[in-house]
Amino acid sequence: MSTLTPAGTRTSTMAQALNAALRDSLREDPAVHLLGEDVGALGGVFRITDGLTAEFGADRCLDTPLAEAGILGTAIGMAMYGLRPVVEMQFDAFAYPAMEQLVSHVAKMRNRTAGRMPLPITIRIPYGGGIGGVEHHSDSSEAYYAGTPGLHVVTPATVQDAYGLLRASIASDDPVVFLEPKRLYWSKGELDPAAAVSAAAEPIGKAVLRRTGRSAVLITYGPSLPVCLEAAEAAAAEGWDLAVLDLRTLVPFDDRTVCEVVRSLGRAVVVHESTGFGGVGAEIAARVTERCFHHLAAPVLRVTGFDIPYPPPMLEHHHLPGVDRILDAVARLQWEG
């Protein structure tokens, strides 16, 4: 554990935890450099970089021109020279111009150079809906990233994970797409930074059971975790004792933990905001079915956003998976058999 990481537990929002993770990473490793749009004086549109330019200077936390491919391309060059850049994309749907740099270079450079040129870049992207954003501000783009070999895809759902997983992502020698569920930015929880960075406390690639149960498991991540926990509470009243599994990392995928839980319970529902067709949930349902078929009492079901462009904010609650839709899926898990 680093001597620079503050000890003790405090109540924090997810936004504050992310800010603390960036600050502590900047303090501990001079190679860490932040860059993005409005990350300087403003502290980012979500204030995740609040105060960092003031504390570390523009050399370490840089307001760039407004061009996402240029930001990520510049970060690649910085990483080639031995720095450890952390890039902020302002919103999910504004990250698409950087897609070519991400797919053709960030994801492939280690492979293209036989391991000689790794790119330890963290790309932070606020994602998902539920904040009343107008179009292009609420996309769930994780399937694009998860489908690109060479990237790690990480998404926290708790305050403690926001800190721990971001620290681990920045420390990783592989590039990480770090998806921040923007509707959880203001959620509160306990933060213990020292515990988060202590050995293997928050490893990338490890799912965690947020709620134990005996009937079925809800498999989820990021913004859908609180919804699933709420659904599990509601289900208890109807006689279902639901477990809730938080994946935390989409790539590398924790097959082992997922399969252990599914095999022990025999029923599973995958829940995410993103569209269903070709989504991460489809991959999970397929993997679970391939590996756990003889333990399943019912097909693996998915509760996802509809296969539509993200709706206008006044209609988004119809699109987002909610407690009722999750409970409907649980009810369809062939209990009568």
Binding site: L62, M78, A79, M80, L83, Q101, H105, N111, F253
Partner: protein
């Protein structure tokens, strides 16, 4: 003392209603409308004879490299070779101008520049042979992988140069592009970032007139590609890309400017691709023979050799030595590439991540089992 905090542009002074005129004077940034030439001009007398002979030797060896790689491709020994035949003056000037600590960011047509920079000529060709991606060590050679997606390497040069500047190290990054590449968004973003960050970068655009088949007139309506520099607030320079001493001089000035903190430069070199785009291309569908013939008369080797012979710098002994060096290299290429490469299928999983994921370990085991079954058959 930080690098960026003390930029004069930290805020916009006097940003009040009524502000008029450009924020900086564009005149010094404008390229001279006639391309810089040294061959056949009195200015050449100032050039170092040793440099001229070095450029000549590099050109002759480089042409032979291009020819041999093209032949090997026709023989099926390379998967593809985008030749820089006719553009060697740009290619070798880059190799001659960069210092060991500098970085090169080449495009796929710049294998010769990579070799001229000092990368092993055979390692530089693994990508195009098809047995591996980048065959050389990009960190040890300070040469980024040959970049196929157009202009996407340009922002990398900016970021690397910026990082070096943050560390106070006198490193210059040189990015090589083509005329087609200047239409890409990444070209624009790279130049804009470079100028805003005052990064020590040189952008060399080899304008060979065609992006595969599309002529420059359909690529850009700018007065010249070098003029684009003005819009970013950096100087643009136009040079005869087949005049090797001129390309070297213009690049040397830009590199020195970058190294001394003067910021980036855009250089447009006017040149011509004498071969087709690749072996899969048919240039007769979009170019007139007369045009190719005219450029053959403006061949970079021809131009320099004529000048060096007339000034008495080049004799038969030096010329023969250069040809022999080229033949030695060509023989080495034939020996290497006529042999079958050693391939290791299990290497496919080795460098995807720092540590292979559980899933990749399973897939590697699957491939190993397939290979074992194949061997047992």
């Amino acid at each position: 003392m930080t690098v960026l905090d003390h930029r004069p542009t930290a805020s916009v002074p006097g940003w009040l209603p009524g502000a008029t005129g450009p924020r900086t004077d564009p005149a010094p940034l404008l390229p001279d409308p006639s391309p810089v030439r040294l061959l056949g001009t009195p200015d050449l007398e100032k050039a170092d004879p040793a440099l001229l002979l070095d450029l000549y030797r590099r050109l002759v060896v480089g042409r032979r490299y291009n020819q041999q790689a093209t032949t090997l491709t026709k023989q099926g020994r390379l998967a593809v070779y985008p030749a820089s035949t006719g553009q060697e003056a740009c290619q070798v000037a880059v190799g001659a101008v960069l210092q060991p600590q500098d970085w090169l960011f080449p495009s796929y047509r710049d294998t010769l520049a990579v070799v001229s920079r000092g990368v092993d000529p055979l390692e530089a060709l693994t990508l195009l042979r098809g047995n591996a991606h980048t065959g050389y060590d990009p960190v040890a050679t300070r040469t980024a992988p040959l970049c196929t997606p157009l202009a996407t390497q340009a922002p990398h040069a900016v970021g690397l140069a910026h990082a070096a500047r943050l560390r106070g190290e006198p490193v210059v990054a040189l990015a090589m592009l083509g005329d087609g590449g200047t239409s890409e968004g990444d070209f624009h973003e790279a130049l804009n970032f470079a100028a805003v960050l005052n990064a020590p970068v040189v952008f060399l655009v080899q304008n060979n007139g065609y992006a595969i088949s599309v002529p420059l007139t359909q690529q850009s309506a700018a007065p010249s590609l070098a003029h684009k520099a003005v819009g970013y607030g950096m100087p643009g320079r136009l040079v005869d890309g087949n005049d090797a001493p001129a390309v070297h001089a213009v690049l040397a000035e830009a590199v020195e400017r970058a190294r001394s903190g003067g910021g980036p430069t855009l250089v447009e070199a006017l040149t011509y691709r004498l071969e087709a785009h690749t072996n899969a291309d048919d240039a007769t569908r979009y170019r007139e023979d007369a045009e190719v013939a005219a450029w053959r008369e403006h061949d970079p080797i021809l131009l320099l050799e004529r000048q060096l012979r007339s000034s008495g710098l080049l004799d038969d002994a030096v010329a023969t030595a250069a040809v022999e060096q080229g033949e030695e290299l060509a023989a080495r290429m034939r020996a290497e590439f006529h042999a079958e490469p050693e391939l290791d299928p299990t290497s496919l999983f080795r460098h995807v991540y720092a540590e292979p994921t559980q899933q990749l370990q399973e897939q590697a085991a699957q491939l190993a089992a397939e290979l074992a079954a194949e061997a047992a058959r």
